[in-house]
């Protein structure tokens, strides 16, 4: 039985999802369409969590910082006003640059807080959010003069909380059109996610991936055999931040709206819960977990408000139920994993 240990959590989620689908009484096409959107929007976030887990740092809750990097670069591109196709490329390049800088800072901070990476990364995420808010809510318009006055609030200080980036939404619309359920989308984002997944998989099998594994297994032993522990951990965080920023760009592009102040909140929780639902632990995660997790977790996410509506006549209950599932998954994973570690 021990061999199937890693499938217990996914099976549990599968049962919950099926129950949810039955209770919600929705068509299969509807779920497929929603899943397509959620897969495109959240897929890379899950991949971003894999490297820090391999390097033994637990879940990197500071992927919100990566998302912030993406939002900053998107805002700058909007501000200067490039044409969408050029702007998209510039946004990607800019966000990768920013995430390398931010990832370096986070990596240095987390190296100082060994053994408490998860809670420290969480606090870093909160702190980064506040710093980001102060730049765009207070400094924009007072210290920084934007090129494009339309993005500011009417009082002239602070960026609007919601920006329309409609032109970017149509970027892929004519390339490789595909019909999934009720949704008409493009195959390009899915191909991008699969390519990123393959790259992540190749990196885990490469030299740096093995180093990360070694550091994750035993930091002191890895130091003894000549692996630069701090550097390896920093690289894991930097790659995680870069992937998170790419993921956020995909998210914004697919949504067509840039939620300046709220777009990056809670991403970390849902991404990590989805990864854990796919059978990952704090010690071991691979792209298989990511792809299983995203389908199971988000199916549950789609149907639970509807199920709440049908059973209790109150959609808010489904909302509470799903946040309960998200946090509960993490608590459950914490209890299982950390217990194993202490034994």
């Amino acid at each position: 039985m021990k061999r199937y240990n890693e499938y217990y959590v996914p099976i549990f989620f599968l049962i919950l999802s099926i129950l949810g689908i039955v209770a919600a009484r929705v068509g299969f096409n509807f779920i497929l369409a929603e899943l397509y959107a959620r897969f495109v929007r959240n897929g890379i976030f899950l991949l971003a969590l894999i490297f820090p887990i391999m390097a033994g740092m637990g879940i990197n809750f500071s992927i919100t910082i990566g998302a912030i990097a993406a939002q900053i670069s998107m805002l700058i591109v909007m501000d200067i006003g490039f044409v969408p196709s050029l702007g998209f490329i510039i946004a990607i390049l800019l966000s990768v640059t920013l995430s390398i800088i931010f990832g370096n800072i986070i990596g240095n901070l987390l190296n100082r807080a060994k053994g408490k990476e998860m809670i420290a990364s969480m606090v870093i995420g909160f702190l980064g959010t506040s710093l980001y808010q102060i730049v765009f809510m207070v400094a924009y318009g007072t210290v920084i003069k934007p090129f494009n006055k339309d993005i500011l609030l009417t009082r002239g200080i602070g960026v609007k909380s919601m920006l329309d980036i409609g032109e970017y939404k149509d970027l892929f619309s004519n390339l490789l059109p595909i019909r999934i359920g009720d949704a008409e989308g493009s195959l390009v984002p899915i191909i991008i996610i699969i390519i990123v997944g393959i790259i992540v998989h190749l990196i885990t099998k490469s030299k740096i991936g093995y180093r990360m594994n070694a550091v994750g297994e035993n930091m002191y032993l890895a130091e003894k055999v000549g692996i630069h522990v701090d550097n390896t951990r920093k690289i894991a965080i930097i790659m995680s931040t870069i992937l998170a920023s790419l993921a956020q760009i995909m998210f914004i592009q697919n949504l067509g709206i840039l939620n300046v102040y709220t777009g990056h909140l809670n991403l970390d929780i849902f991404a990590s819960a989805a990864l854990l639902a796919g059978g990952a632990t704090f010690k071991k995660a691979n792209i298989k977990n990511a792809f299983i997790g995203i389908f199971l977790f988000h199916t549950l996410f789609i149907v639970s408000p509807l199920a709440g509506q049908n059973i209790f006549k109150n959609p808010a209950l489904g909302e509470y139920f799903r946040s309960c599932i998200a946090y509960g998954t993490i608590v459950f994973a914490l209890m299982i994993n950390l217990k194993i570690k202490t034994e």
């Binding site: 637990g58 901070l109 100082r112 807080a113 060994k114 053994g115 408490k116 998860m118 809670i119 420290a120 969480m122 606090v123 870093i124 909160f126 702190l127 959010t129 506040s130 710093l131 808010q133 102060i134 809510m137 207070v138 009082r155 200080i157 602070g158 929780i269 209790f312 109150n314 808010a316 209950l317 509470y320 139920f321 946040s323 309960c324 946090y327 509960g328 993490i330 608590v331 914490l334 209890m335 950390l338 217990k339 202490t342």
Partner: protein, 345 residues
């Protein structure tokens, strides 16, 4: 010898406070009003901060799972309101029921934390976060009948903010209020806080308190000397939860509302930040840390609101508050990491 540790966070905090105090003079807001408000804010949040002390001293980390204890207090208040208990009776019954529920919640919480020694902070954070949706489910399904607590339409589910006017809103604030010139001292409120602080102080001096304090010092040694570590941790966690339940009741009576649903979501971080400003370390916190830290923290943010409004950017005070709160917590994590490494060498 009690020596006030002055490190980067405390220095930044104090200099920020001084800058704000000076700039208040130019805005033209009288200092007396601010001092009056600061006394109320101090006690309002002080009991919540005090609730962290037993858990820190037993080595169970800073209690990021504060929402659990808070939920117990909220539930106690809701039950008192359901029976339309007013005034001191309502306040007393809230504390009594809140404490009983806190014992239950604390017991369950302690089972979780005792399984996961050494990782209390991350587990506590998520235990607190995941507890809120559970309580949300409860708030919207619980069979309360008092119309003043329910949603105006529908008649099912508690409303997010329940008004305490006519029940026990401001009951401690207005108890034994002393006016000296324009200075108003809410003596009853402060006395209540001091009594609780004194109780925690006495508890630390008892046999049990001293035994608890030696657990984080050296757990193996404590175990060898016959201390039942799990039991002591459980007692400390339950004690913390009871104080948190009382804390939210004191908070709510000052605030005038019971804030349900996502209200307690982010309450743990300011409390932890306040006790860190007071100079508490990972394994040691005193009542003095609580009093000093809460006063500095709350007063700073009380002063920052009029200053931010004068600058025409009202959001700024809240953002700076969040930066300070999280920055101080992060500093504590980083600083402890370095110190631990130095000790090892």
């Amino acid at each position: 010898m009690k020596r006030l540790r002055l490190e980067a966070p405390q220095l930044i905090m104090i200099s920020y406070l001084v800058i704000l105090a000076v700039s208040l003079k130019y805005i033209g807001i009288p200092y007396m009003d601010m001092i009056n408000d600061s006394l109320i804010k101090w006690v309002m949040n002080g009991v919540l901060v005090l609730s962290l002390v037993p858990m820190i001293n037993v080595g169970a980390g800073r209690n990021f799972g504060l929402p659990i204890g808070i939920s117990a207090g909220l539930l106690g208040m809701c039950i008192a309101l359901e029976f339309r208990l007013e005034g001191w009776l309502g306040f007393g019954v809230s504390i009594l029921i809140g404490s009983i529920i806190a014992i239950l919640f604390g017991y369950i919480y302690s089972i979780v934390l005792n399984r996961l020694k050494g990782n209390e902070e991350i587990v506590g954070t998520f235990a607190g976060f995941s507890f809120i949706p559970i309580m949300n489910l409860f708030w919207s399904l619980a069979p309360f009948k008092n119309r003043q607590m329910l949603y105006p339409v529908g008649g099912q589910g508690l409303r997010p903010k329940i008004n305490l006017d006519g029940y026990f809103g401001g009951i401690l604030d207005n108890f034994l209020k002393i006016n000296i010139g324009s200075l108003t001292i809410p003596l009853g409120l402060i006395m209540f806080f001091f009594i609780l602080c004194f109780m925690v102080y006495l508890f630390q001096r008892t046999r049990m308190g001293i035994a608890m304090a030696c657990i984080p010092e050296n757990e193996a040694f404590a175990k060898l000397s016959g201390i039942n570590i799990d039991r002591y941790r459980r007692i400390a966690i339950i004690f913390s939860n009871i104080l948190a339940a009382i804390g939210i009741i004191v908070y709510s009576q000052s605030y005038g509302f019971i804030h349900l649903y996502d209200g307690p979501f982010m309450m743990a971080f300011p409390a932890v930040s306040a006790i860190l400003i007071g100079g508490a370390t990972k394994n040691k916190a005193t009542v003095f840390n609580v009093m000093l830290g809460t006063y500095l923290y709350q007063t700073t943010f009380l002063l920052s609101v009029p200053v931010a409004n004068a600058l025409l950017i009202p959001e700024m005070s809240e953002i700076i508050r969040m930066i300070m709160t999280n920055g101080i917590i992060l500093y504590a994590f980083l600083y402890e990491g370095v110190r631990k490494r130095n000790e090892k060498v």
